[in-house]
């Protein structure tokens, strides 16, 4: 691990958490002298990875990250092949659809189809969901041992009154999820929001992502038709990726 790169990445992570920070703030957080931090920040700045806020003397994340992430999204095979199926899933169910992948101890939303009505909605691509309190997370946990390791390494924070914070309870539910090929979640991450997720496998049989439909808890439990549509979508995406069997097997920890 190269020290300078590690520190640079930590600067980006700090700016991710706090939007705007001065050199002094960063230096305090990293326990480094301000001059050192300044060197790191100005190096990042020359590449547009960090930007100075207009007028002020604090720093924020830079525009180059946007360009890089857009190429990242384009390079994702799962995402490209999911496109039409997630679109169709949203249309069939009338619900918002998310495609998520493991990212350290969280689930990263790599694609999002808005609910097909005209209500104002935010695009959630790039958002990080709690692994233990989302249907996407549970599905991924059930099939990916490496992801389990990452998630269970830390305590599970409570987000609503419904959040499952006991790792043993969560772990106990995973085998059934893997067997049935879907997971549910009701009010566990956001009050009033429920979701239903199913795994996506690739040609090697590994779980590379999960698809979910998201709907208001007030609408009551999702009807069977929704579950079928979800499973269809997950199966179709998996098939396009070259998967031969579905629902898929449990993948070993990848390193």
């Amino acid at each position: 691990m190269i020290q300078a790169i590690d520190r640079a990445a930590k600067v980006l992570e700090l700016l991710q958490g706090s939007r705007h920070l001065g050199i002094t703030d960063l230096a305090a957080a990293l326990q480094l002298p301000p001059s050192t931090v300044h060197g790191i920040v100005s190096s990042l700045r020359e590449h547009g990875l960090v930007a100075k806020e207009r007028g002020g003397q604090r720093y924020m994340l830079g525009p180059t990250l946007l360009k890089l992430s857009s190429v990242y999204l384009d390079s994702l095979d799962v995402r490209a092949r999911s496109m039409r199926w997630t679109q169709e899933l949203a249309r069939r169910t009338g619900m918002a659809v998310r495609l998520g992948a493991p990212h350290f101890a969280e689930v990263l939303v790599i694609h999002h189809v808005l609910r097909p009505d005209d209500s104002p909605q935010m695009l959630e691509t790039g958002a990080a969901l709690p692994a233990h309190a989302s249907a996407l997370g549970k599905v991924l946990l059930a099939h990916d041992l490496g992801f389990q390791r990452a998630v269970f390494a830390e305590t599970l924070p409570s987000l609503t009154g419904e959040t499952v914070t006991d790792a043993a309870v969560l772990a106990g539910a995973l085998p059934a999820i893997a067997e049935h090929g879907f997971a549910t979640e009701v009010d566990e991450a956001v009050l009033g929001e429920s979701s239903l997720a199913s795994p996506v496998a690739d040609a090697r049989g590994d779980i590379v992502a999960a698809v979910a439909v998201v709907f208001p808890t007030a609408d009551g439990p999702a009807p069977d038709a929704v579950l079928h549509a979800l499973r269809d979508a997950a199966r179709n995406i998996s098939r396009e990726l070259g998967a031969s069997t579905w629902p898929p097997r449990i993948a070993p920890a990848d390193d």
Copy 2:
């Protein structure tokens, strides 16, 4: 400029250009020994900035970039305040709307509203447009001397038969653009695509972005109503940012 960070950023830029690269490819491009490149890549990998492609032995951009860029977008004041006005502009004109900002010698699309019909369209947020061949770029060039310097430092590539590749010709058109408060472009970047852009200023009177409407060249020149709607949007966004005058003055080079 810290060497290791510079090299790390160059690795990200190379992966941005070529999607998938092996250590050897990167080493050749950077003129560095493979072992050195490996150290850089694995450091980036630990932070999720670079990922190993599934199964293969090559590397690609990593998911952390997506998370970072999503925070970057949220931290952009211009973007947040543009939201409703760009939405309304798309509705009024029936055209796709882009919000762009200078990024080195290109224009980075920081917000995109799809054309309000049901045709399948790609979200272009994060795309980089050529500064000399887009209405957004011309507007930004007209008001931002620092951006001019960056763009005119290199030769202007021809993208279609209509692209203006002569820097002197382009520079000659800028004063009129600054005076009238809008720029046009017809088939200069993509055949069959035209656009019309107008500048957005902040409280200090600096140009921080530009708004554009994009439409098929086949539809003929945009009617005055579209230009008015565009200028309204640009003026409203600028006002929300605290700008006192519009169209805005020419901003000096910022460093």
